[in-house]
């Protein structure tokens, strides 16, 4: 075995920062290699955009999940569609966290990277994404390149990277791939997949099957060459690397499915019996419709790409009004455009499910990056009093099941239900127990029998605000629906009492729904010094941080809210059992010590705003908008800070 020349020697000891060490449990030796047996490991594949690192990462993550590992993947997506090659801004790829138990978040720092050039590696280094003792497998063609500018860039990068204790292993990716394909750029990803699969002991049969599925629509020769590249990568790793990493599978042998959040939403919509999806392409929500486009019609569904966001909402509302079960999919900017139509659905009490896959920033913002900044807009974005339901799945699995729940609530309460997902869930891949779809999820079609004599389209029950939905074409069910305030018969309301009455009915429905909710479960003890409250995709990171803090003896617990409107019952009482309450969110909040910031003018995290208003509890917050998911280690440090624990994180 020949070990490639390394820019540094063996992996240096990890710093005492709590970051996972790739070699922390290095032990037995097999076939002349050191086998590191670990309970979790984070690996990245990073390349220029278009070199296929994302495909490589997805296959690696999926195969790992199928082999029984806990997995959470995060896409590394450049902000631009075609960024310049060999630029830090163009870094594209996939980050996979493997575990011996369920993995609920992307973890802290990357332990092993395979990079297609030194510039994309530099981007990850500068982003602070890499553990200081990370092992780096780096395409080495650039250090011998003819272009002196590239050589200069290489040298500068090596110098900058030298500030860390990375173990950098050169990999002749170009040279190896050219043995199989004419254009190495179209082969490096499968070669890299082979290298990683050899390191982590991935099942070759599963890999070959995954590659075949990936290229199923292309010529068989394409598949054959990609498998050959895979094998070449595996052989190279076996012949040139002195280590292997073993992350044992979880003990859970139950049947699992592996998918990302957008796939889960698409499949959940089908399982829920939704019949029409209307959308306009927008990152990071578009892939929901991509998945639906492939299979929705097989289940009787209709996918409609409208001419714009507003029309997409209009089509869904119209379909629902006429008796179909419909939803629309969008992201923040699209939500802004749909605002008026959401008000129409609320006023006409037309059931509608709206999926908002949040991205970063206002306006165009950060289309490919994660943020949780649409909460207040989702809750209060409509002019006038427009009560509706907002719920947020916290896991990929919940993305699936939230569609079943959203449809049922929308129809039962004749209202709009917004499902707040985010880019972290949308592109993250996680295995979860295979759902067993039930006929009840799909419900029965709306009753289209004759309307009872005397029944009215808005026969608001004085206690619950609920009324029976009429469908056009139903005998005796014809009525005119407009956005105008209306009475029980859908006649335009000129009597001021009518608006008061109808507003009360629409509002009352939320209270009725809340009466069926249970207080959210507490992770940890039911009382203590600090309660961390979260919502959406931060759940896994928060709970892992709480677990670490509790292992240190800190009195901290967490709870996670699925319903944001209405909020679940019992929060005030729950908060009262803790010395402090703090939200952790991926949206912006002012730092209390910043210039000009006072307790009165401080803009807080969006959930913190809501909880303070609803519970009158002095809820604190810690938020970040770093265009990436929160790390459990960062939250752990904040918990320690809030509880005034001195000393670094162990």
């Amino acid at each position: 075995m020949t070990t490639p020349t390394e820019t540094r020697g063996d992996a240096a000891p990890a710093k005492a920062t709590g970051r996972p060490r790739a070699d922390a449990q290095a032990g037995r030796e097999a076939d002349g290699k050191i086998v590191h047996r670990l309970d979790q490991h984070i690996v990245e594949i990073v390349s220029d955009s278009g070199e296929g690192a994302q495909t490589c990462g997805k296959i690696f993550g999926t195969v790992s999940a199928r082999m029984g590992n806990g997995v959470w993947t995060v896409e590394i997506i450049p902000a631009e569609i075609e960024p310049p090659a060999r630029s830090p801004a163009g870094a594209s790829g996939n980050r996979i966290r493997l575990g011996s138990r369920e993995v609920t978040n992307w973890g802290d720092y990357t332990n092993l990277v395979i990079a297609f050039n030194e510039q994309v590696l530099l981007a990850r280094h500068r982003a602070g994404a890499l553990a200081p003792d990370a092992t780096i497998l780096l395409e080495d063609m650039w250090k011998r390149h003819d272009d002196p500018d590239i050589l200069d860039q290489w040298s500068a990068a090596m110098e900058e990277l030298g500030s860390a204790d990375y173990r950098i292993i050169p990999v002749p990716m170009e040279k190896e791939c050219l043995e199989v394909v004419d254009d190495a750029r179209r082969g490096k990803n499968m070669f890299a997949l082979g290298v990683l699969s050899a390191i982590y002991g991935r099942d070759r049969e599963l890999l070959e099957g995954a590659i075949a599925r990936r290229f199923a629509k292309k010529d068989d020769e394409i598949t054959r060459r990609n498998v050959e590249l895979l094998d070449r990568g595996m052989r190279w790793a076996e012949g040139h690397l002195d280590f292997q990493i073993e992350v044992p599978p979880t003990s859970d042998a139950s049947a699992k499915v592996v998918m990302n959040g957008n796939q889960a939403i698409a499949l959940g919509a089908i399982a829920a019996g939704l019949e029409l999806a209307s959308m306009y392409p927008i990152t990071p929500a578009s892939s929901v419709s991509h998945y639906l486009a492939e299979i929705f019609q097989d289940y009787g569904g209709i996918l409609h790409q409208a001419e714009d966001e507003i029309a997409a909402a209009g089509v869904a509302i119209g379909a629902s009004f006429s008796g179909k079960t419909a939803f629309t999919i969008t992201s923040g900017p699209g939500m802004a455009l749909k605002t008026e139509f959401l008000g129409l659905a609320i006023m006409t009490e037309t059931p509608l499910v709206v999926v908002d896959v949040q991205r970063g920033g206002p306006s165009t913002g950060l289309p490919t990056r994660v943020e949780q900044s649409d909460l207040l807009a989702a809750l209060f974005g409509q002019p006038g009093d427009a009560p509706h339901v907002v719920l947020a799945p916290a896991t990929i699995e919940e993305c699936f099941h939230s569609m079943v729940l959203a449809r049922r609530i929308a129809e039962t309460f004749r209202t709009v239900v917004i499902v707040l997902s985010d880019a972290n869930l949308a592109t993250g891949v996680q295995p979860f127990p295979r759902p067993e779809p039930r006929a009840e999820w799909q419900g029965s079609p709306p009753d289209q029998g004759a309307v009872p004599d005397g029944a009215r389209p808005y026969e608001w029950d004085p206690r619950t605000g609920l009324s029976t939905r009429f469908i056009p074409g139903q005998e005796g069910g014809q009525f005119t629906a407009t956005g105008l305030a209306h009475d029980e018969e859908s006649h335009v309301a000129y009597d001021p009492q009518v608006n008061q009455r109808s507003s009360r009915a629409r509002s009352r429905k939320l209270a009725v729904l809340q009466s069926t909710l249970t207080p959210p479960p507490i992770y940890g003890e039911g009382s203590g010094d600090l309660l961390v409250v979260g919502w959406g995709s931060t759940k896994g990171a928060i709970e892992e941080a709480v677990e670490r803090a509790r292992a240190e003896g800190l009195s901290v617990s967490s709870t996670h809210l699925t319903f944001l409107s209405p909020l679940p019952p019992g929060l005030t009482e729950m908060f009262g059992r803790f010395g402090r309450v703090m939200t952790v969110e991926i949206n912006y909040s002012d730092e209390p010590d910043d210039p000009f910031i006072t307790p009165e003018n401080r803009r807080r995290g969006q959930l913190a705003w809501l909880l303070r208003a609803q519970t009158l509890v002095d809820v604190d917050c810690w938020t970040r908008v770093m265009a990436e998911p929160l790390r459990p280690g960062s939250i752990h440090e904040v918990i320690r800070d809030r509880l005034a624990v001195t000393g670094g994180v162990a």
């Binding site: 049922r408 009872p452 005397g454 206690r463």
Partner: protein, 339 residues
């Protein structure tokens, strides 16, 4: 003309009032029937805890969800039974013929009690509607409200119900005709017609003349048609042809002055009077004297504002500007509907 035939003629004359009440009853029957239908099935989607999916089992109480709808849409058996009884009572009134508006009094019975019984029987329409509403909202008391379905007399009626008051035709022996006791019923749009049989005092209804009440004594059934057109309370007595009864009309819509409102067509001689039942000749003479007096005073009296909201139209020459203004103000205030 036989009494029964006269009653038919009276009912025919009152057809407008009858139809107004019947229409209200029919609407109530439809509404309560629809409510019964709705309460058999829950509003919206039938609750099925499984339909909420796996996520709900962690954050919701599916049983409470289902129970909420059962509780909301499906009335408890007691309330549902009460709603059914209300529907039955209304449907019974709806199906009855016009004879339900007739009450017959035996000799010696109380006219007042008979009128209250008759109106209480017809007033079940209002009582049933009230019970249906209370049952629908879960505010019913079975013991307290079931009685509304058999007897719901005028003192229990609200303003709106008094505006829809059913007309009542009372076949009464002349000897029981103590009309003064009827004053308490003359409110809203109540119409009372007494079909008098046998000997009777000549001017009993004089005691009921007040500015807003239409009072008619006549021997011609067709004269009673004006009761159906009059919006306020009215009372009439139809005497047999050839009887010695006075014939007169006090019509508030005819003008603001007593002279305009009073029209006396026939005034019998005092010397002919004899006791009728317990009604003495002196009492009858007093009523006749009052009628004569009103007729004379009316002719000389200045116009006064009408309290039923109908200003004089033909009496404009004699009405002073101040009176017309007062009448207009009263109309705007809609005092007739108060109470």
């Amino acid at each position: 003309m036989p009494s029964e035939q006269r009653v038919d003629l009276v009912l025919s004359a009152l057809q407008g009032s009858l139809e107004g009440f019947r229409s209200a009853v029919a609407r109530a029957v439809d509404e309560v029937r629809a409510e019964l239908e709705r309460r058999r099935q829950p509003a919206g989607v039938p609750p099925d805890p499984q339909a909420l999916g796996a996520l709900a089992s962690r954050i919701m109480d599916p049983g409470r969800f289902a129970g909420l709808f059962a509780e909301d849409s499906l009335l408890d058996p007691e309330a549902y039974a009460l709603l059914e009884q209300a529907h039955e009572a209304l449907a019974s009134l709806d199906a009855a013929d016009d004879r339900m508006f007739v009450e017959s009094i035996p000799e010696g019975a109380s006219l007042r009690d008979a009128v209250e019984a008759g109106l209480g029987r017809l007033g079940v329409a209002f009582g049933a509607a009230r019970v249906a509403e209370l049952a629908r909202e879960g505010r019913h008391r079975t013991n307290g409200h079931a009685g509304h379905l058999s007897h719901f007399p005028p003192p229990s009626w609200n303003r709106a119900e008094r505006g829809l008051a059913p007309p009542l035709v009372v076949e009464t022996p002349g000897a029981t005709l103590r009309a003064g006791a009827l004053a308490e019923f003359l409110d809203g749009a109540q119409k009372l017609v007494l079909v008098v049989q046998g000997a009777a005092p000549p001017a009993p209804l004089v005691r009921l003349i007040t500015p807003g009440v239409l009072v008619v004594q006549t021997k011609e059934p067709e004269e009673l048609g004006r009761l159906a057109d009059f919006e306020g309370p009215a009372v009439a007595a139809l005497f047999p042809e050839g009887s010695g009864a006075a014939c007169f009309t006090h019509d508030p819509s005819a003008g603001t002055g007593l002279a305009e409102r009073m029209a006396v067509e026939e005034l019998p001689e005092v010397s002919d009077l004899r006791p009728v039942g317990a009604i003495s000749a002196a009492q009858q003479a007093e009523e006749l004297a009052q009628l004569a007096s009103l007729s004379r005073v009316g002719a000389a009296a200045p116009a006064a504002p009408s309290t039923n909201g109908h200003a004089a139209s033909g009496g404009g020459d004699s009405a002073r500007p101040a009176d017309r203004l007062a009448a207009w103000l009263l109309r705007q205030a809609n005092l007739r509907d108060l109470g």
